[in-house]
């Protein structure tokens, strides 16, 4: 087992798949010679050459369009959108073309395509470079949506995404890039659509995603000290959504708290909460509580950004208050 950082895991996952399958190509701004602005694609140009690792102009619509057209005709491209905020500049391609074309054409075309993008805050980049936008893709039928929280999951879910015959939006979290972990040796492939129970507990369920996962785990530690035992679930995959695991846990604990980095309204937790409110009604022992950033754009200053995003303290306090 090698120690890899989350950013190294991205490159390792891509390399593993490019090695295996010659139809896998990587395109994006500065992904080649520069190794990515987050250094998540270092070494790939050297290893696979400029034909398979291509720098693009600042043309997000062209990047996604090129990847889509190629995916329809025999390649399995990985397209990088540097920051998830920039998905907005190519949203028509992502939400109206990539997502819908298979359905519209009565299933004539498949679009095996991965869109990788750096998501989330914590780096004091302000409102246009810090958004947690998993919910944008989740709301669009035809897109699969993944957001790993650990280096091993990065490798395994990236491999699964590349092998999937459908389009996957793969959210990498900026503030996790430096996180290190043991990653299994040899080929590592995980499964889309699977959540993971990271900690067992009987009192309540905490569902978290990406950078909120380590905070949820820390909060669970502290809660245990209060005698409150939380089951912590890393949701990992929003579409497909592993409702069996998540709602199964809620049925066991009777309480659900989501921890979301996104602003308050219509984050991924709203779907999870709504599903629980419909399907676990008889098991619920108390209100479903979403712990989120307030419904504001993210501010830049460290003091403000830290106050906006759910902290371990806020999770603990909210759970304690909520468990009465």
């Amino acid at each position: 087992m090698a120690q890899l950082s989350y950013r190294e895991a991205v490159a390792a996952g891509i390399a593993q798949e490019m090695e295996r399958d010659p139809t896998v190509y990587l395109i994006g701004e500065d992904v080649g010679a520069a190794g990515g602005v987050f250094k998540a694609t270092v070494g790939l140009l050297e290893r696979f050459g400029p034909d398979r690792v291509r720098d693009t102009p600042i043309s997000e619509q062209a990047i996604i369009g090129a990847a889509m057209g190629a995916a329809m005709t025999g390649l399995r491209p990985i397209a990088e959108i540097m920051f998830s905020d920039f998905l907005a500049t190519c949203w028509d391609l992502v939400a109206n073309q990539v997502a819908k074309t298979r359905y519209m054409t009565g299933g004539q075309v498949s679009i095996p395509l991965v869109i990788r993008t750096a998501n989330g805050g914590g780096v004091r980049f302000g409102a246009q470079h810090s958004q947690s936008l998993e919910n944008w893709a989740m709301a669009v039928p035809g897109l699969k949506v993944v957001a790993p929280s650990t280096p091993a999951d990065v490798v395994g879910l990236l491999a699964a995404a590349v092998r999937d015959p459908d389009p996957v939006v793969f959210y990498e979290h900026k503030s996790l890039y430096a996180a290190k972990e043991e990653v299994p040796d040899g080929e590592h492939v995980d499964a889309l659509g699977t959540a993971r129970v990271l900690r067992q507990g009987d009192d309540l369920t905490i569902a978290a995603l990406a950078a909120m996962v380590p905070r949820a785990l820390d909060a669970a530690d502290r809660l245990a000290a209060h005698g409150v035992f939380a089951e912590v679930i890393d949701v990992r995959s929003l579409i497909p959504l592993d409702t069996r695991t998540i709602l199964g846990s809620v049925r066991k604990t009777g309480r659900l708290f989501t921890v979301e980095e996104n602003p308050r309204v219509l984050g991924w937790g709203a779907e999870v909460a709504s599903l629980a409110a419909e399907e676990c009604f008889d098991s619920l022992d108390g209100p479903i509580v979403r712990i989120t950033t307030p419904h504001v754009p993210l501010p830049a200053a460290d003091a403000l950004e830290d106050a906006a995003v759910p902290s371990v303290e806020r999770i603990v306090e909210t759970v304690v208050a909520g468990m009465g």
Binding site: Y25, D51, R52, R54, T56, P57, S59, E60, Q61, A62, I64, G65, A66, A67, M68, G69, A70, A71, M72, T73, G74, L75, P77, D92, L93, N96, Q97, T101, R102, Y103, M104, T105, G106, G107, Q108, V109, S110, P112, P141, G142, P165, D166, G193, I239, P240, L241, D242, T243, R244, L275
Partner: protein, 340 residues
């Protein structure tokens, strides 16, 4: 039309043989007949959604299609009946798609605006202006790296030249030297607004070519042979690694933009003038003048009508699609399942 416009002389010089010329005429006649029928069916409320016809623009679809290899890719807009038929997609299935029937090319899921027949190289019809230009570039990129010699051809209108995706696609295609041919069908109008009122240059496509290091190419889009000639040259260049082309084909739609739009915003004078350049009647007259027997031409006309009649009957016979299709084909496993 500018000085640089290419007319049929050039094509004739390249020696299009009699069979090819008749094939061209046949395509024009079939598309014309199909589109008129589609309009009739729309008026009868059998076409339920919208439809955008290529009446008056048939020569472009015909001329380009004749210059393509069977494994080349076509990317269309919502105004895609002509291009889909020209590549050989089955007419009854195209008609049935317009009517929203199970026998439709897409089993009714796409409708008139999304015709697709991968089997015939028609990689889709896209209804949001501009999006398919980068997608076509992507198919060309794929052909380039797979080394297949395939070329992607992308059709779009004059109005499309003002949207961002046009710019991004043209630049990327030029930088990567992609085998893609962009064909702007300049019919002088967006939906109802004249293109000149909202465009900074007189030739919306050709006057932008230099911004991508490309040659300006303007062709008489109502002359199927002229279109064939420029398309052939551009496709050959693309196939040989010479990179993309941007062709502006000047044309005019005989009717309105879509559905029952009567196109009243167009000056009578302009309409009259363009009707004298009807691609069907002018090409027919030229062929006749150059020695093709009237019986041959009217035979083609009759075949076209018979084919459209048959397609119409078959389409009408097809039942509505089963409602189970609503939850099929979101994913490659055929399902629409987003949770377990």
């Amino acid at each position: 039309m500018t000085d640089t416009t290419i007319h049929a002389g050039a094509a004739a010089a390249e020696g299009l043989d009699r069979d090819s010329r008749l094939a061209l005429y046949r395509l024009v006649a079939e598309i014309r007949t199909f589109e008129k029928r589609a309009y009739d069916l729309f008026l009868q409320s059998l076409v339920k959604g919208t439809s955008h016809l290529s009446l008056g623009q048939e020569a472009i679809a015909a001329g380009v299609a004749l210059a393509m290899r069977p494994d080349d890719y076509t990317f269309c807009t919502y105004r895609g009946h002509a291009h889909t038929l020209a590549r050989g997609a089955p007419m009854a299935a195209v008609m049935a798609e317009l009517l929203g029937r199970e026998g439709g090319l897409l089993a009714g899921k796409g409708g008139s605006m999304h015709l697709t027949s991968v089997e015939h190289g028609v990689m889709g019809s896209y209804a949001i202006v501009g999006a398919h230009l980068p997608i076509a570039a992507g198919a060309a990129w794929s052909a380039q790296v797979r080394g297949t010699g395939q070329v992607a051809v992308c059709f779009f209108g004059d109005g499309t030249t003002n949207i961002g995706a046009f710019h991004e696609a043209l630049n990327l295609a030029a930088v990567w030297k992609l085998p893609v041919v962009f064909v702007c069908e300049n019919n002088l109008y967006m939906e109802y607004t004249p293109i000149g009122a909202v465009t900074a240059v007189p030739n919306p496509a050709a006057d932008r070519a230099s911004a991508y290091g490309l040659e300006p190419i303007v062709v008489d889009g109502n002359d199927p042979e002229a279109v064939w000639a420029v398309a052939r040259a551009a496709i050959a260049r693309a196939r040989e690694g010479g990179g993309p082309s941007l062709i502006e084909a000047k044309t005019y739609r005989h009717g309105g933009h879509s559905r029952a739009d009567p196109g009243k915003y167009r000056p009578d004078e302009e309409v009259r003038e363009w009707m004298t350049r009807d691609p069907l009647t002018t090409y027919r007259a030229r062929l006749a003048a150059e020695g093709v027997e009237e019986s041959t031409l009217s035979g083609i006309d009759a075949d076209a009508l018979a084919k459209v009649d048959l397609a119409t009957a078959q389409a009408k016979d097809s039942p509505p699609p089963p409602v189970a299709l609503v939850e099929r084909d979101v994913w490659s496993d055929g399902s629409a399942t987003w949770r377990n």
